[in-house]
């Protein structure tokens, strides 16, 4: 029951993903990091078909890095979202499509705005104030409709995230377990404990 | 001798009789403060074939109740027949017509009685209540019902109902400063909305057209205001109390 959330606030994006790796009915790992740090100001939470996920995330990671090496500056969040979307959309109608759902959170150092993109395995991209993937989205999105505030401080944002996590563990048949939470703002990326 | 091929002997084959068809058409009813309008087109079709250009879907039940039936025509006709029979028995037992709200409940019971082999019909009941107000009751095939101000059902329900939301309930419309939307519209307005709805549905839906039958039930003491300009208006009945029932017919496009 993979679940990931993300929300924007005043000058930051919080991205959270569960840390459980499941195969069939078995928990294989309970501390997996499903959030990649693509560049100094860009986070990507990934979920979906096991195998595709890590393969695709690493492919994206290396290409974003390559861009930075070649051009001496990183892609802005909007450009990264477009590039990632294309990678998914171009393989969609082939035999090797990636079944990966993403939440792309970044801080745009040029416009000084936090950006969050909801991306699904078909290559659907939309910029949103908050987002979720997996079964958790059925609980979290309604909570976020009620409690999300784009002007909230980081503490308030984390409190809202906590509500989502608690609700999912309470109401979802299978508790996704622990979460890894990362924040991106003007100072870069850091992991936070909740 | 015809030899059965080995395939059909090897596998059990299932044959099923489908007891239902859809015969198209659309019905619509709107309640006013002291009147009720119940309308339906008269085309009856099966698939892309028109079976007849005149098959009534709207029926007079009593002097103050009209029933519109849409869906599977055979079920519809049988259902109307059974309702009329029950109303006749009621009349013999009580020496009066059954009140509208009681007819509505009767229809619910009759539909739910067939919960596991339903009459494949959507019913709309229109008429005058005991208190003299115009009423519309709409039903699903198994008897869930509700009193409303207006309802469209049938093939073009999805075309007509949102138009009615806008024109009858004034949805998405803001009343002018210091005014409010009327809860009931005058008969003249209602009739033109009904006719517009059916001409629109006829234009865009292949199963709607040919003819339009509009029943108008008037509360007692109500004048014919708003009906002066109607051509071909036919009075069906008038009660001792003065409730009157009219029908008007219009042509719709036949293509």
């Amino acid at each position: 029951m993979e679940t990931s959330f993300a929300l924007t606030g005043k000058g930051y994006v919080i991205v959270a993903a569960d840390t459980t790796a499941i195969r069939s009915i078995v928990k294989m790992q309970i501390d997996q990091d499903k959030i990649k740090e693509l560049s100094p100001h860009l986070l990507m939470a990934y979920s979906g078909e096991p195998g595709d996920t890590v393969q695709f995330a690493e492919y994206v990671e290396r290409n974003i890095r390559l861009y930075q090496i070649r051009n001496l500056y990183p892609l802005r969040p909007a450009a990264a979202a477009s590039w990632i979307r294309r990678s998914i959309a171009e393989t969609l109608r082939t035999r090797n499509a990636y079944s990966v759902n993403l939440l792309l959170g970044g801080y745009d150092t040029s416009s000084h705005t936090p950006n969050l993109y909801w991306i699904d395995y078909m290559g659907t991209v939309v910029e949103v104030p908050f987002a979720a993937h997996g079964y958790g989205s059925y609980f979290a999105l309604s909570l976020l409709d009620r409690y999300h505030d784009p002007e909230a401080s980081l503490e308030e944002g984390l409190a809202t995230l906590k509500r989502c996590i608690d609700e999912v563990s309470k109401r979802l048949v299978v508790d996704p377990g622990k979460y890894k939470v990362k924040v991106v703002d003007k100072d870069g990326i850091r992991e936070v404990e909740i | 001798m015809i030899m059965p091929d080995m395939d059909s002997l090897a596998h059990p084959q299932e044959r099923r009789f489908n007891p239902y068809t859809e015969n198209g058409g659309t019905i619509l009813a709107i309640a006013g403060a002291d009147f009720s309008v119940i309308a339906g087109d008269t085309r009856q079709s099966e698939g892309y074939s028109i079976q007849t250009r005149y098959a009534p879907k709207v029926f007079r039940l009593t002097d103050r109740a009209v029933l519109a039936v849409n869906g599977f025509a055979a079920d519809g006709n049988m259902f109307v027949k059974k309702v009329k029979q029950r109303l006749e028995w009621y009349h013999h037992a009580h020496a009066k017509d059954m009140p509208l709200r009681a007819i509505a409940r009767l229809i619910q019971t009759m539909l739910y009685a067939r919960r596991f082999f339903p009459y494949y019909v959507y019913n709309i009941l229109g008429g005058i209540e005991e208190d003299g107000t115009g009423a519309v009751y709409s039903f699903d095939p198994v008897g869930s019902y509700e009193r409303e101000a207006c309802r469209a059902a049938g093939a073009a329900q999805s075309l007509v109902q949102p138009f009615l939301d806008n024109q009858i309930y004034f949805k998405n419309q803001e009343a002018a400063q210091g005014t409010s939307h009327p809860s009931h519209l005058p008969l003249e307005t209602v009739l033109s909305i009904v006719i517009d709805s059916f001409t629109s549905a006829t234009e865009r839906h292949i199963e709607v057209g040919d003819g339009l039958e509009i029943f108008i039930a008037l509360s007692k003491g109500r004048t014919l205001q708003g009906m002066e300009s109607i051509r071909g208006l036919q009075e069906l009945t008038v009660t001792e109390d003065g409730e009157r029932l009219f029908v008007m017919r219009r042509d719709l496009k036949k293509d």
């Binding site: 109608r93 659907t124 939309v126 | 999805s158 007509v160 949805k171 517009d196 629109s200």
Partner: protein, 208 residues
């Protein structure tokens, strides 16, 4: 489950007197679950042509990018802006190229085309997902609320509406149609194209 209904959304275009209007809802969903209430599916092609792309959301983005590329190439090669009729055929041929593995989009176009006398003539068109063109004289609709849009538009639309009246007509048509569709709604956007300006307004709508 139908692919055409996976993300939801509807578009409508109408002709007025020396003006045209195109409007859409703003919902993006994943079947019954609402994801975004600000998903744009109408895009400017030139100063006088707009295109709406209801259908599968990933193909909205893919086609938008494809049309932008092909229109840019046209503009460079021809050294002039594309006319709405030409653009409609560009859309049609792009979609028909994928006849047996289509993009799940039913485009709606609205614009003003130049007349030989130097004036402008309203133009609207729509195609199905494989590019069969429909040049209507009154209005065109597409998307999950298309049946509802047809019904309301047929009742409200009349010929030769002025820009502001056309705005009111298309807005009321869209709003009342999407309110009866579970897959469309969550706000709306309307563009009215006239010869000297484009009026763009975001509408509030029911959020359920």
């Amino acid at each position: 489950m139908s692919i055409m209904e996976y993300n939801g959304g509807s578009v409508i275009a109408m002709v007025g007197k020396d003006c045209v209007a195109i409007a859409s809802d703003l919902r993006l969903g994943s079947q019954a679950l609402g994801i975004s209430s600000n998903f744009q599916r109408i895009f400017p092609v030139t100063d006088r042509v707009y295109v709406g792309l209801p259908g599968l959301a990933t193909d909205v983005t893919t086609l938008r990018e494809r049309f932008r590329y092909r229109v840019n190439m046209y503009t460079i090669k021809e050294e002039r802006e594309i006319e709405p009729e030409t653009f409609a055929h560009l859309v049609s041929s792009t979609l028909y190229q994928h006849r047996f593995g289509p993009y799940f989009i039913e485009p709606v176009m609205a614009g003003l085309s130049k007349t030989p006398s130097g004036g402008f003539k309203p133009f609207i068109a729509a195609t199905d997902l494989i590019g069969c063109l429909n040049f209507a004289k009154d209005f065109v609709v597409a998307g999950t609320a298309s049946a509802k849009l047809f019904g309301v538009a047929e009742g409200l639309w009349e010929p030769d509406l002025e820009a502001e009246d056309l705005f009111e007509t298309i807005s009321q048509t869209l709003l009342n149609a999407v309110d009866r569709d579970a897959y469309s709604g969550w706000g709306a956007i309307v563009h009215v194209i006239t010869k000297d300006k484009i009026i763009t307004r975001t509408l509030k709508g029911r959020m359920d």
